[in-house]
Amino acid sequence: MRSLQLLAIQYAYENVRFWRNSIAAFFTVALPILMMMILCLLFGSQQTVVEGQPVYWSTFYVPSLSAMAVIGACFTNIAMEVSISRDRGLLKRYRGTPLPVSILVCAKLVHAVVLGFLLVICLIGVGVWVFDASVNGIQLSLFVVALILGSITFCALGLAVAALIPNAEASPAIVQAVVLPLLFISDVFLPMDNAPAWLQWIASVFPVRHFALILQSTFHPILASDIRVSIHLFVMAAWFAVGLVVAIRYFRWEPRR
């Protein structure tokens, strides 16, 4: 009971801090929605006819930008926030209190995962109502499982990268350098079908592409990829394990001196 109460308090605090930090809130919340709106305005009205029914391309952007939103809320958010808190001595301060580490970390994870889910709901809402995206073919339970697995994978990777980031000044550069190129080569903004094989192969090593593809596949059958869902899940689970091990092994309470 006491642990749950502490978790609730700490979660509420993570929330307050996030929303009051308007810059972080803008980049995490507004950016994926804005990106989806731009892409939908540019290409969303094009359509493919399936069994006599038109399917708008906006149907592709909803799950794709959902992947970006979850990565932003979980990976980018946690990697930046943890490295900045560590540099400012906030983590060390926590360590001197009776608040258990597990609750400190869990509150951050719950905050990130809930935020990611809220963003996905927003993206689906905007996509469907504004840009006529189709949700008729959604495999809801698989889509949700993929979201959950993706969220915890990118949270673990965020913690891992935070552990490897030398200091807070370096964190935006490092985090963006990891995220942006991967988003571009991972079927998020545009399909990679015509990309060179080696580039596709590189993208397939990392979790972003698998996450995007599995969200697309489960969102609408027309977006189903050639690779089987189980392979996507396996690669993501493997990255989750790597992230977890690195995060636990290299976690630091204090900045490196």
């Binding site: 605090y13 307050v16 801090r17 400012r88 209190t97 009776p98």
Partner: protein, 304 residues
């Protein structure tokens, strides 16, 4: 089992690579005492206090704080201590009151919010965000957060460094309030006068070792009184008196550990030999002078 000592340290050593920051110190702090660990920068004070807080693990020696081994990071131990670190920022997006509330919620029996605010003088600033606080006010918020859990023992690492004189006096008032609450306090400082004002006991730490320990009065005695007078050069002073002569103002300085005897020897010799001791006076140097002297002594010792 509880002892009457809140902190018991024996033979404590800590090295960073080849550099030994703490070179085997013993320390005992009684329950309810405000104990000051004094010393210049780099003396090993922060290393010592961070070992007691549990942030660092010692290379050798035994450490018991409130009967616990801090290195084990037990939750029961954290419930009973409050930590004010030397350099930490506070959460910039929370007000003074919100920060204190958050920390309070981590403890089973926290101090009432209004008491924390009152003791640290933050009542009027409770709704303010840290960005709008002065350095001294921010430091008081640090102390408030250390105090929020109602700890039996409070660690304060340089609570007043960088303060202007008024802010330091305010901080001393606050620390006296803590004493009235019956808290044991271990603080580090490089101001000797801080000890005179607030500490019940103090230890001077220089170059990783404790060179002196006692009450502020004991430390004051370390500063020997000096007899000074003016007279012509090349006086043939009586046996056993050694004087420092300053040519510029023809001043003699004699420091003495037995003032009465030295004065007797000096004045009776002066009367017998008809020497006039102009401007004869006795000065007792301040603790700060004593502290500087101790530091210099230690540094010279090192050079040899």
């Amino acid at each position: 089992m509880e002892t009457s000592y809140a902190i018991e340290v024996k033979g404590l050593r800590k090295s960073y690579g080849d550099f030994e920051a703490v070179k085997g110190i013993d320390l005992r702090v009684k329950t309810g005492e405000i104990f000051a660990l004094l010393g210049p920068n780099g003396a090993g004070k922060t290393t010592t206090i961070e070992i007691l807080e549990g942030f660092l693990t010692p290379n050798a020696g035994s450490v018991k704080v409130l009967g616990y081994d801090p290195a084990k990071h037990e939750r029961v131990y954290k419930e009973r201590i409050g930590i004010v670190l030397q350099e930490t920022e506070v959460e910039e997006f929370l007000s003074v009151e919100e920060s204190i509330r958050l920390v309070r919620s981590y403890y089973q029996n926290p101090l009432p919010l209004d008491d924390v605010l009152a003791v640290t003088g933050l009542t009027d600033l409770r709704r303010v965000r840290p960005r709008k606080l002065s350095g001294g006010q921010k430091r008081r918020l640090d102390v408030a957060m250390g105090l929020a859990g109602n700890p039996d023992l409070l660690f304060l690492d340089e609570p007043t460094t960088g303060f202007d004189p008024q802010a330091r006096r305010d901080a001393w008032d606050m620390l006296r309030n803590l004493r009235e609450l019956g808290k044991t306090v271990l603080l580090t400082s490089h101001y000797m006068d801080e000890v005179e004002h607030i500490a019940s006991r103090a230890a001077v730490m220089i170059d990783g070792k404790i060179v002196l320990e006692g009450t502020p009065q004991d430390l004051a005695h370390e500063a020997e009184p000096t007899i000074s007078f003016r007279a012509t050069a090349n006086l043939n002073l009586p046996n056993g008196l050694e004087a420092e002569f300053h040519e510029g103002d023809s001043q003699y300085l004699i420091s003495s550990s037995d003032l009465v005897k030295t004065l007797y020897v000096l004045t009776s010799w002066a009367i017998e030999n008809n020497v006039s001791l102009e401007d004869l006076s006795i000065t007792r140097r301040s603790l700060d002078d004593a502290f500087v002297e101790l530091t210099q002594r230690a540094e010279n010792g090192q050079e040899r």
